[in-house]
């Protein structure tokens, strides 16, 4: 089994901060907007280096989305930064009308997504954002798995015209991908090859899927593990090819079971290649305060839960 390792844990939001600098240095049209969370989003260095291209909008996310749409009309590539809940639910109608329906080249960058936001609790733990954003026509949805990949994804989305939702998080997590990799939007990355079960994971759950894969390997189970960093457009070809061999699938994400990656893959497979599936996700509940790792354990989003789901789905396999 292909081994993955890391030398340090790093937060994905810092990857975003660096990616924004990377892309802004290359492309003078890139501008940044933030709703009073510059430090949390790691946008300070961008602000320092490009003060005339940074717009502090205050705690006014609806306005921020509209201003971003307007900037894109003038040829700019606006990156908006705030937490995932304020990036989506707070400003959904503005995103829908002024950005998605209007086909604006706005990159909505959302940090502190999911349970791993931690102690602030359910008010801030956005678990419905992938669903809301992938329902919008014209919107693309990218959820990178670690610091390096977030950095690459941040730059990559500027190369595609149109609205994007880029989702990342708060805590330090294993940084195991390489900056030398090409980040190809819409192309899932196969991390390990195996013929027994397909595991499709996104965001922070990708590392958990790899850990589950190591345990399963010891039990003689060979998993085909994918990092599905782009949820829309979904890499239908890779997913269908994988389940055609493994004949069963487990999905894993830090999101509600409704509307997320599992839903997207279930829809795809139901139409094209039905196989037994198990979904690792939050089961129709809000989160709560706690440490990130405690929350992931309590809400069933850890490597052990993925392994258990694999055991279940293998029993259902024909």
């Amino acid at each position: 089994m292909k081994e993955y390792s890391y030398t340090e844990k790093k937060d994905t939001r810092s990857g975003f901060g660096l990616g924004l600098l990377d892309v802004a240095r290359k492309n003078p049209d890139v501008v940044g907007l933030c709703a009073d969370l510059t430090g949390s989003l790691k946008m300070n260095d961008f602000q320092k280096e490009f003060p005339e291209r940074f717009f502090q909008v205050g705690i006014a996310e609806a306005n921020m989305m509209g201003v971003a749409a307007g900037l894109s009309i003038g040829g700019k590539i606006p990156y908006t930064g705030t937490f995932a809940n304020f990036s989506t639910g707070r400003a959904y109608d503005q995103i829908r009308q002024s950005i998605a329906y209007s086909e604006k080249n706005v990159k909505i960058c959302a940090s502190h997504a999911g349970l791993t936001l931690g102690e602030d609790g359910a008010t801030h733990q956005m678990l419905e954002d992938i669903g809301m954003m992938r329902m919008l026509p014209n919107m693309k949805v990218v959820v990178p798995c670690d610091h390096n990949q977030t950095r690459l994804a941040t730059a990559a989305i500027a190369r595609h015209h149109g609205p994007f939702y880029l989702r990342f998080g708060r805590p330090k997590v294993p940084n195991f991908t390489s900056l030398d990799e090409e980040f190809e939007i819409g192309k899932a990355i196969r991390l390990t090859e195996g013929g027994d079960v397909s595991i499709f994971a996104t965001g922070h759950l990708v590392w958990e899927a790899l850990e589950a894969g190591r345990e399963l390997y010891k039990q003689g189970i060979r998993a085909d593990i994918f990092n599905v960093h782009t949820i829309k457009p979904l890499d239908a070809e890779s997913i269908i090819q994988s389940v055609a061999r493994t004949k069963c699938a487990v999905t894993a994400e830090e999101h509600q079971v409704h509307g997320g990656l599992g839903d997207a893959i279930a829809h795809l497979l139901a139409e094209h290649h039905p196989v037994p599936m198990q979904m690792i996700a939050v089961s129709d509940s809000f989160g709560e305060s706690g440490k990130p790792h405690e929350l992931m354990k309590k809400y069933g989003l850890s490597a052990g839960n993925i392994s258990d789901a694999v055991s279940k789905v293998l029993k259902r396999k024909r």
């Binding site: 306005n63 509209g66 307007g70 109608d93 503005q94 829908r96 009308q97 329906y101």
Partner: protein, 281 residues
């Protein structure tokens, strides 16, 4: 440059178009665009620098107009067509299936002149602020206009944008509030009073002008004055008193004609108020 009488003739044709479009579709909003026909005409045929024959999304080197109260689409489409953005024959497709002239303005079908979708209220001023900032970054000295409704001032996002424009010293933007005092459920004062709108904008840090939006000379003069106030580190807003349904006696002074089409008899009565000045579509 069009003189006042020519502008009045154009506004008459715009009102005629609005009635025919809403009547033809048996759907739409006649009251608002009848009230704003003078303003839209003044902007597109006299005040704004723009390139109707060569529409570009970025509008570099042009003045830009955003219609935040998108339900005034019939009036805007008429002005866009007569300006030369698209063939006026297309006005006949208003609100019909497969048309570029959506009930509320949209960009998906690529209708020249439209830069953002609007209809869900409160969003246009934010977009206009962003477009104005882009002009500043691009060293483009032109102006961004944004028309809003008075009922629309009840939306919180308007005040987010108002605070932002003043706070960021956006001084290449002119907001215009269509102060006709009516909204869907009734008089604005009954539905949700706006209080002293002049004082509110002023307190937010805007230059505030007022005008009668149904007197062409006053509209031109006030728009020119607003333009002269640009560039002074403050955004400018014009509170424009209009009569919803202007020019049609039974449509004025009521909210009844905000969003309903006339029947045959009502249409005949209404259309008689406006002679064909530029030629019907």
């Amino acid at each position: 440059m069009k003189d006042i009488n020519e502008l009045k003739d154009i506004a008459t044709q715009v009102r005629r178009d609005v009635l025919r479009m809403v009547y033809g579709a048996q759907s739409g909003h006649p009251g608002g665009p009848l009230g704003c026909a003078d303003l839209l005409t003044a902007l597109y045929f006299r005040v704004m620098k723009h390139n109707p024959g060569d529409f570009s999304m970025d509008g570099a080197g042009e003045d830009l107009f955003f219609l935040s109260n998108g339900h005034l689409s019939a009036g805007w489409y008429s002005v866009l067509a007569h300006s030369g953005y698209f063939d006026k024959k297309e006005l006949a497709t208003f609100r019909l299936i497969d048309s570029r002239l959506q009930g509320h303005p949209a960009t998906e079908e690529g209708l020249p002149g439209v830069r953002v979708a609007s209809g869900s209220l409160g969003q246009g001023l934010s977009v206009a602020c962003g477009a104005a900032l882009a002009k500043r970054l691009n060293k483009d000295p032109q102006i961004v206009y944004c028309l809003m409704g008075d009922g629309e001032q009840q939306e919180g996002q308007i005040w987010e944008a108002a605070m932002f424009a003043a706070g960021r010293e956006i001084d290449n933007i002119i907001g215009i509030v269509d102060y006709n005092g009516q909204q869907i459920d009734g008089a604005v004062n009954d539905v949700m009073p706006l209080g002293d709108l002049h004082a509110k904008y002023k307190a937010f840090g805007w230059e505030v002008l007022e005008m009668d939006g149904n007197k062409m000379e006053e509209v031109i003069n006030t728009l020119e004055k607003a333009r002269s106030l640009c560039g002074n580190k403050k955004p400018v807003v014009i509170l424009m008193r209009t009569e919803m349904g202007y020019g049609v006696d039974f449509m004025m002074g009521t909210h009844e004609w905000h969003g309903k089409p006339p029947n045959d008899e009502q249409f005949e009565k209404a259309i008689a108020n406006f002679k064909e000045t530029l030629g019907d579509y």
